[in-house]
Amino acid sequence: MIGSLEQVLEGPKTVFTVFGLPITESVVNTWIVMAVLVVLALIFRRNLKLYPDKKQNIAEIIVEALDGLVTSTMGARNKNFMPFIGTVFLLIAFSNILGIFGLRPPTADFSVTFAYGVVTFCCIHFFALKAKGWSYIKGFGQPFIFLLPINIIGEVAKPFSLGMRLFGNLLGGSVIMAMISGAIALFVPAVASIYFDLFSGFLQSFIFIMLTMVFIKIAKDDDD
């Protein structure tokens, strides 16, 4: 629910400019998400005990679920990726469900999602180069050297496809929500919002981190 259909299709509004650089709604809303995450983290980490109370139980459930997901997807040897993957998941998930509060989700902006895709892209190649070294670069010429351009295009397409998937889903969800709340004002938008904002938002952030983990794992270790 972020206003009328025209507002959604117009793209993010510019809130203010710094030295001619436009600071759009997406940036400001990302700041809000960051502030919420930092405050939540500060609340949850206060007086941790061996025998957890309610608050600490919630935090432990989230951390253990993410830990289990990373370990089962990437293997026990890549357990150290959990903080990064978990942060990306929480950031994207909170950005996606911002539509419930009447704000424009930052992920409904291709610049933002493409930036997330570029982060994944850099991670894939950094960790692959670190793990395999020169043989990783030679791997682009496999099985024949003629496939080199196709392999490179395939790699370059990854951030675009990751970004497009997230952006398209979120923008599509926003458009449908704007249409529904434009047509029927009572009760129906609330129910639709559960699917289009909550479920779809969590699912898409889950997909994003799953693909990130799988890409990093495939590029990093080719045995097992």
Partner: protein, 85 residues
């Protein structure tokens, strides 16, 4: 607004519709196939339901990608119409 702009707007709307025809068919078939296979797998191994569900949703989301691409194309075309009219 002249005839030229009107024609561009009309064909942009038409193109958005055609893009969504293709973008609706493919992912629908792919997601339905994945869901069917997922149901089969749960029927065979009900104890592995959680894992099958996760794999199925992931596969469906990847299958959806092409549909999302055509949705983006359609939205861009409608954006052109918004700018002209």
């Amino acid at each position: 607004m002249g005839w030229n702009e009107l024609a561009v707007a009309a064909f942009a709307v038409l193109g958005a519709g055609i893009a969504m025809i293709g973008g609706g068919f493919g992912p629908a078939i792919g997601q339905g196939y994945a869901a069917g296979k997922g149901a089969e797998a749960v029927g065979r191994q009900p104890e592995a339901q959680g894992k099958i569900m996760t794999t199925m949703l992931l596969g469906q989301a990847v299958a959806e990608t092409t549909g999302i691409y055509s949705l983006v194309v359609a939205l861009l075309l409608i954006g052109i119409v918004n700018r002209i009219l």
